[in-house]
Amino acid sequence: MSDAPVLQVDGLVKHFAVTRGLIRRKTIGLVRAVEDVSFEIARGETLALVGESGCGKSTTGRLILRLMDPTAGSVRFKGKEIADLDKNALRRMRRHMQIIFQDPYASLNPRMTVGEILAEPLRVHEIGDDASREARGRELLDIVGLLPEHASRYPHQFSGGQRQRIGIARALAANPDLIVCDEPVSALDVSIQAQIVNLLQNLQQRFGLSYLFIAHDLAVVKHISDRVAVMYLGKLVEISDKKSLYDRPLHPYTQALLAAIPKPDPALRTKRVMLQGDVPSPFKPPTGCRFHTRCPHAQARCSAEEPELREAAPGHRVACHFFETLPAPTILARAGLANGKFAARLAAFEAAKTARTSA
C-alpha cells in the first residue's frame, strides 16, 4: 500500500508533572506541553511543524520517535502502533525513523571519527560487516557532499555546515523512511543554511524520504515543506498545504507570525500590527482559545470556549471561532526586487557558478 501515510499521529498528549520538595516529591501541577495533536505524513512528503519557543513542537518530534512516552494518543508508523512495541521491536522500527538535531556539534560524539559515527547505526542494527559498513560510510559522505578522506577525521575538524552534513549522513545510514528534522538549519549562517536546505530537498527526491521538519522560521519552511502545521502552546492552530497557508493564512497567530518575519527588502518597511506581550506559561494556559490573550480579534466567546480545528477549505483546517469573518491580512506584499538589478545580478552569479562547475 503505497498510499497509506508513513506516519499517523492521533490525539497526541504529553503532560510533564511539576514537582516540589526534595525528599517527599509532590506534584503541584502539569505542564501541558502537547495537547491533542493529530496529523499525518505521506510517503515522500514534508510536513513542517512551526511555532515559537515552548509551543511543544520538539516534544511532538520526540514523542513520534518514542524518545519519550506520550501521556495519551497514538502514533502509527507505517500502520503499526509504536506505543505497543517492546524494546527490541522498537529498536528495529527506529532503523526506519531517524532524527537530525539543531546543534550538529552537540549531537556528534567528539571522540569518534566520522567513519565510526556513520558505521554506528549500522552496527546497532546489525547491518553488514565491518568492510561493508566502511564502504557505506564513504558512500554516505559522497551523498551529502563530503569527501571520502573525511571519514578518518573528528567532528571538531569540521565547520558547522559540514557537521550538519555528517548528522544527515548518519541519519541516512540505515535507509530510513522518515526523518524528524529538529531545527536543522537554525544554528547555521544563511549561505550555509541554503546549502543544507537544498541538500535535504535533493535527498528527499533521490530516496523518497518523508520529513517532519520542525522549525520556528516560516520563511525556511516555505522553501522545504509540502504542508505546514502551526502550533501554539501545545495545540495545533492551523494545518494546511503550503500554498493555501501562505496565500491565505486564516488563524490570527499564523498571520502574526508571517507579519513578524523581517522582510529582506527595505521597500516593504511598514508599520506593522504586532502581537503584544509574551507567550503565556504552558503551566497555566489561558482558558478557551489559548491565543485569546494576545489575539487582536479576540471576543468574549474566545476566552470561554476552546475552538476545534475546522475545515476551511479542502486540506486546510484552522482552530478559530471567527476565521470566516476576520479581515484579510495585508502582510504578503510582493517584493519589487524579484525583477530589476538584483535579479539580473543573481542570475549572472548563478550562471557563472554553473559555468565554473561544468568547466
Binding site: L218, A219, P262, K263, L337, A351
Partner: protein
C-alpha cells in the same frame, strides 16, 4: 552630515598559538548622528570584534587594537586613559548584547543594575536614580514598571530581559548605541517588538545606532546605511535601498540570494559554495575569491580596494558591476 563616530583603518588582531588571528583587518566607516548603521556578515567575519574594539572591550593581551583614529565626537577614544574610557562606556557610548540573560547579573534585581549604571555616570541621588530607572523601564514598555523593577532577571522572559538591557543602555542618554545581534536569541514575534521599540526610541531620543547582525531581514527593517563585512574587511557599503536593489559585490549578491523569503516564490535557494576562510590563513588577494564564481587570476593575487561605484555606494571588487563582465 554631522559625524558622531569615525573609524579609520581599524585593525584588531589576536595572538594565538597558531599565529596571528586577524579578526578585523583595516576597516574604515563612520556613523552620522541620529542615524542607524547596519554591520552585516556571517559568523567570524569580524563584525562583533569591530564593535568590541570601538567600545574598548577587547581583552589585551591577547588582543591588539590599532587604528589611524577612532574619533568619537572630537576625541580619539584609543588615546583615552582606562578611566576616561570607562566613563565614556555606558555613558555617551552604550551597548546591548545578544544574550540578555548572560549580560544581566542573576543575583541582583534589574532595578539595582539599572540604578548602578545611572549612579556610575551621573551625580544623581540613589532615590532620583531609582525614579529614573522606573521611568526608563516605562520607556521600554515594561508593564507595571514600578513593580517589575524589583524582579530578578530569571523572573522575566527573554524579550523582557532585552528590554531591561535597552533601558540600562539608554539610562544615561547615550549618543551612540551599539546593538550586537539584539534580537537573534528571541522569537520572531518578540523580535518584531524589540526592533519596533529601538526605532521608536531612536526617533524620540535621537541617538545613533550601530546594529550588528547576520540577518539581512533585520537590516532591511531598521538600517539607513549598510556595511557588509567578509573575513575581516568591508566588501560593500551603501544606502540600505541601494544595497538591496542594486547589490554590487558577488558576496552580497549570493547572500541576498540565499535568504529564504516568504515574499518571492523560488524553487531553489542560491548558495555560495565553500566556507569562510580561516582568519589565520587568508587568501592573498580578494578574500572572497576562493568562493566567487567570477574570480580570475587578478582577484586571487591582488586585494581589491573599496572604491566608489555610484554616489554613496562603495564596493571592494575588481569585477563589479558583474553583469557587464559576464
Amino acid at each position: 552630515m554631522d559625524t558622531l563616530l569615525e573609524v579609520r583603518g581599524l585593525k584588531t588582531h589576536f595572538a594565538t598559538d597558531r599565529g596571528l588571528f586577524r579578526a578585523v583587518d583595516g576597516i574604515s566607516f563612520s556613523v552620522p548622528r541620529g542615524r542607524t548603521i547596519g554591520l552585516v556578515g556571517e559568523s567570524g567575519c569580524g563584525k562583533s570584534v569591530t564593535s568590541l574594539s570601538v567600545m574598548g572591550l577587547v581583552p589585551s593581551p591577547p588582543g591588539k587594537v590599532e587604528a589611524e583614529a577612532v574619533l568619537f565626537g572630537n576625541r580619539d577614544v584609543l588615546k583615552l586613559t582606562a578611566d576616561e574610557r570607562r566613563r565614556l562606556r555606558g555613558g555617551k557610548m552604550s551597548m546591548i548584547f545578544q544574550e540578555p540573560m548572560t549580560s544581566l547579573n542573576p543575583v541582583h534585581t534589574v532595578g539595582q543594575q539599572i540604578v548602578e549604571a545611572i549612579l556610575a555616570h551621573t551625580a544623581m541621588s540613589p532615590r532620583a536614580a531609582r525614579a529614573r530607572a522606573i521611568e526608563m523601564l516605562e520607556l521600554v514598555r515594561i508593564p507595571s514598571a514600578a513593580q517589575r523593577i524589583d524582579d530578578f532577571p530569571h523572573n522575566m522572559s527573554g524579550g523582557m530581559r532585552q528590554r531591561v538591557m535597552i533601558a540600562m543602555a539608554l539610562s544615561c542618554e547615550p549618543a551612540l548605541l551599539i546593538a550586537d545581534e539584539p534580537t537573534t536569541a528571541l522569537d520572531v514575534t518578540i523580535q518584531a517588538q524589540i526592533l519596533d521599540l529601538l526605532s521608536d526610541l531612536q526617533r524620540r531620543l535621537g541617538m545613533a545606532i550601530l546594529i550588528i547582525t547576520h540577518d539581512l531581514g533585520v537590516i532591511a527593517e531598521v538600517a539607513d546605511q549598510v556595511l557588509v563585512m567578509y573575513a575581516g574587511r568591508i566588501v560593500e557599503s551603501a544606502d540600505v535601498n541601494d544595497l538591496f536593489a542594486d547589490p554590487q559585490h558577488p558576496y552580497t549578491i549570493g547572500l541576498l540570494g540565499s535568504i529564504p523569503r516568504i515574499d518571492i516564490d523560488r524553487k531553489r535557494l542560491a548558495t555560495i559554495e565553500g566556507t569562510v576562510p580561516s582568519p589565520n590563513n587568508q587568501p592573498a588577494g580578494c578574500r572572497f575569491a576562493p568562493r566567487c564564481p567570477f574570480a580570475d587570476r587578478r582577484c586571487r593575487l591582488d586585494p581589491p580596494p573599496l572604491r566608489d561605484i555610484a554616489p554613496g555606494h562603495q564596493v571592494a571588487c575588481w569585477k563589479a558591476p558583474v553583469e557587464v563582465t559576464s
